[in-house]
């Protein structure tokens, strides 16, 4: 098995079927989400930046999901369980 790197997982994502590409975070959600975490009231997010952050989050979730699948497959498991996710979590956080 080739090593699961950020590169290979992302390349797989780009080859993926349309369906999961169409499911996106709503821009209102992204905007409110980011705003809720800002330390200063005056900080706002530009419209294009919101769209781009929605893409970032989309990739983040796809990475998390796909790496968990690969981990489960590497362990010959049919289902994705929490242990599989826990094993890929450290590298996921480092890659982002």
């Amino acid at each position: 098995m080739r090593p699961i790197t950020a590169e290979s997982a992302l390349i797989d994502k780009l080859k993926m079927a349309e369906s999961s590409t169409e499911i996106t975070f709503k821009k209102e959600t992204v905007s409110k989400l980011l705003s809720s975490f800002f330390k200063e009231e005056k900080t706002k997010v530009g419209a294009d930046a919101v769209l781009l952050m929605a893409e970032m989050l989309h990739v983040f979730v796809q990475e998390a999901a796909q790496r968990t699948i690969k981990q489960a497959e590497a362990e010959d498991s049919d289902r994705m369980d929490i242990e599989h996710f826990e094993k890929i979590l450290p590298q996921l956080l480092l890659d982002f």
């Binding site: 999961s20 530009g46 294009d48 930046a49 989309h58 999901a65 049919d78």
Partner: protein, 125 residues
């Protein structure tokens, strides 16, 4: 009774739920592609992680904007948050170009319909 805090808490819960919803749909779709299923626990864990990652992203974005002496987070700030992985930053770069070209298309469409109303300007072009 701190109702202001309760309202804040409710807002946060609604946001968490919204994230959880989209994460769930995404995981289901990706799982279907691989003919596998995500346990509810895993989906909840991915949703929670995504939520917390937003906090990190938001703090970074705010810091980058402030560093550039702006109060509005820009596309450049977002690109900076994608700096750790080459594939990721290339992907984000492409997406930002798509967004920019969509904006340009919309501007062109608006210009055209404005041009049709002012015939003289159109002839001069």
């Amino acid at each position: 009774m701190s109702t202001a805090m309760d309202e804040e808490e409710r807002k946060l819960q609604r946001l968490k739920a919204a994230v959880h919803y989209t994460v769930g749909r995404l995981c289901q779709s990706i799982g279907e592609d691989h003919q596998k299923e995500f346990s509810r626990q895993v989906i909840a864990a991915i949703a929670e992680t995504t939520f917390r990652q937003c906090d990190i992203f938001a703090k970074d974005l705010e810091a980058f904007a402030r560093h550039a002496k702006r109060s509005t987070v820009s596309v450049d700030d977002v690109k900076l948050t994608a700096r750790r992985s080459t594939a990721l930053s290339n992907f984000i770069q492409r997406k930002s170009e798509e967004i920019a070209s969509t904006n340009q298309e919309q501007r062109d469409i608006r210009k055209k319909s404005a041009g049709k109303r002012k015939n003289k300007e159109t002839e001069m072009e």
